[in-house]
């Protein structure tokens, strides 16, 4: 019943505002967390046995008639579902305390679950137009979640995000229309098969360019990144964590990767474009992050930089590069989720996001400081944390494929990353305690608990990296490395 990944969050979202009339806090908290916990357990416990003998295709019936509710679960989609459920659960746990002062908690959870349903639907879709629709589901919910605080900055950031996202959707839609005109189908296996039979290189090139612009905007790759440093810091902390940790990856990186590797087939030209875009993003955003004083803005630029690593690894197209890219996607989802959540705890305790105003907070918020340090070191790629292994895989893949210059740039950008994360540590947590923060206390229980869980995962995955790679990353990377055949052979109904 893989439709549950879409249906359950949608149904719970539908009833939450009604339940919010009966219980304003406890029941919405319980229901939202229970839904995500169920999805996580389902993905981890039931998902892997389900795809043990290859991808699962589900064709549902409705009132006895076969309808086109067609979903596919393979190693790549299961990996994404697990990442979405895991980070989603930590974020809803954090929201139990954090969203108290915003009000309208039931509506918040409803929108959050719709965003999760949108991401899950996109991951399971087998059809280009389905991908577009679920992209919009997640996007519409995320616009309101960015604006949820209702302050001037939030509304302005949400509007900017909406405007640029609409442009991205237009590019994606035009490309889908051209592909439909050319192949007569929207279904991924049919399109993949038709494109192999057709000799339509220039037109496919234009479609690829439109997808790069559309999904590149969603993934906030440089030069399509302008919206992200405004939208992500302005949103409530748990939403920043989901946007940076998950949404840009699902609606940008996942969609782009699935279409380019499994439908178009990764040509050397496409590979070069992706690698250059990834490298420009990882270097450019790292420099931009260095100059930031707002901690969440610095984290937002860091997200652009880390998505650059992911695209560089996947764009390389070798099995090791793809595995490294996917592993970094997962590690970054955990670590950046963690960092945005700790930044939220700091903002709630001090009322500011300005790093220059902070200082010595480790004395007052030891758990937040420790978990933030783990997240920072993980993203910077310090061993033995998870981020180290994924960056190492990407760099090894680049060297192995004969791209030493790209590998060197990736290493140097990692040093830059470590630099700006150490700046956060020095300015926010170490040094003398600013007198203004003498009365500051550690974040409430659920906020601390969720960050501790994420930090523990960063450490555990770093220590047990080979197990993670074997169980989750290799099956996902295998699907992508197989290229067009993975979809044509296994998804054709």
């Amino acid at each position: 019943m893989i439709i549950l990944f879409v249906a359950l969050p949608l149904v719970v979202a539908g009833v939450l505002p009604l339940i919010g009339k009966i219980s304003r806090r406890v029941l919405p908290d319980l229901l939202a967390n229970a839904a995500l916990l169920f999805l996580l357990v389902y993905a981890v416990a039931a998902g892997r046995p389900l795809i043990a003998n290859g991808p699962v295709l589900q064709q549902l019936t409705w009132l006895g008639e076969s309808v086109n509710l067609r979903l596919a679960l393979d190693g790549f989609s299961l990996f994404m579902l697990m990442a979405v459920s895991l980070v989603g659960l930590c974020v809803t746990l954090y929201s139990v305390d954090y969203m108290e002062h915003y009000g309208a908690k039931a509506n918040y959870y409803a929108l959050f679950l719709i965003m999760i349903a949108g991401m899950n639907g996109l991951v399971l879709a087998t059809d280009l137009f389905n991908i577009y629709i679920f992209l919009e589901v997640a996007a519409v919910a995320s616009y309101s979640l960015v604006a949820f605080g209702l302050g001037h900055d939030e509304l302005e950031a949400a509007f900017k995000y909406l405007m640029l996202s609409v442009v991205a959707s237009a590019f994606i839609l035009i490309s889908i229309a051209i592909i439909f005109g050319m192949t007569g189908s929207l279904s991924l296996p049919a399109v993949a098969r038709a494109l192999q039979d057709l000799n339509a290189g220039p037109v496919v090139g234009i479609c690829a360019a439109l997808f790069i612009m559309g999904f590149g905007l969603k993934a906030a790759l440089i030069p399509f990144h302008a919206w992200l440093p405004d939208a992500h810091p302005s949103a409530p902390a748990p939403i920043s964590a989901v946007l940076s940790g998950l949404l840009i990856k699902v609606s940008g990186v996942y969609a782009l990767t699935r279409i380019f590797l499994n439908v178009f087939g990764l040509t050397p030209a496409l590979s070069s474009v992706l690698m250059v875009l990834g490298t420009v993003s990882l270097v450019g955003a790292a420099f931009l992050a260095l100059g930031q004083k707002d901690i969440k803005r610095m984290l937002a630029y860091s997200s652009i930089s880390q998505v650059g690593y992911i695209v560089l690894g996947i764009g390389l197209g070798t099995p090791l590069g793809i595995a490294g890219g996917l592993f970094h996607l997962f590690n970054h989802a955990l670590a950046k989720g963690l960092l945005f959540l700790t930044a939220g705890s700091m903002q709630q305790a001090t009322g500011t996001r300005d790093l220059d105003e902070m200082g010595g907070l480790a004395k007052r918020m030891p758990f937040t400081a420790a978990t933030n340090l783990i997240g920072s070191l993980s993203i910077a790629g310090v061993p033995p944390l998870n981020g180290f292994w994924s960056k190492l895989l990407i760099i090894m893949a680049l060297v192995q494929a004969g791209h030493p210059v790209f590998a060197l740039i990736a290493v140097l950008a990692s040093v830059l990353t470590l630099w700006y994360y150490l700046l956060i540590q020095r300015k926010a947590f170490f040094g003398n305690l600013n007198e203004k923060w003498a009365a500051v206390k550690e974040a409430p229980f659920w906020m601390t608990a969720s960050t501790v869980v994420l930090a523990a995962l960063c450490v555990a995955i770093g220590v047990l990296f080979s197990l993670t790679i074997k169980s989750w990353i290799q099956p996902a990377a295998g699907v992508l490395a197989e290229g067009v055949q993975a979809v044509i052979r296994s998804w054709g109904l």
Partner: protein
């Protein structure tokens, strides 16, 4: 051919007007006329359902929503816009027309025509049986819209 060309030229002209006009009401009406022309083009190309939806929903319902919203807003201070922004659209538009004229004809010829796929069929079958997952997605979009309105127009008693 003349009718089709006039409709297409009208479509482009009114779309441009919708962007360039400073008066919001006139811009909304221009957009409605654009949709109306697009609806007629759909009818002439035998896509009658698309035409009906375009005219009833986009030219009708959405225009009413736009006009209602504009009526509810107060005329505030004029927001100054930089000249660069005012120049950006016409420049982009002219560049697009030039590229369109030079490239599109040759490009369209290169798109090989395939026999129509099993995804065509009667409208009802395509909508209810062929595109069911899209309907689920659309329900989710509507839910997101409704909850967004509820969340964003809530009483700001606590946070503010």
């Amino acid at each position: 051919m003349i009718v089709q060309t006039s409709l297409l030229v009208g479509l482009v002209l009114f779309s441009v007007l919708a962007i360039l006009l400073r008066d919001l009401l006139r811009a909304a009406v221009s957009l409605a006329v654009t949709s109306l022309l697009l609806g007629i083009i759909f009818f002439r190309m035998n896509a009658s359902y698309a035409g009906v939806f375009e005219i009833s929903v986009v030219a009708g319902l959405i225009t009413v929503l736009f006009i209602l919203t504009i009526a509810l807003t107060n005329k505030g201070e004029e927001v100054p816009e930089s000249k660069l922004v005012n120049l950006a659209f016409p420049l982009f538009f002219v560049a697009f027309i030039i590229i369109d004229a030079l490239v599109m004809k040759g490009l369209l010829r290169k798109i090989p025509a395939l026999p129509s796929s099993p995804e065509t069929g009667a409208f009802g079958d395509v909508l209810w049986k062929g595109r069911t997952l899209d309907l689920v997605g659309q329900i989710a979009v509507i839910l997101a819209g409704v909850f967004s309105v509820l969340a964003l127009f809530r009483k700001r008693d606590k946070h503010d």
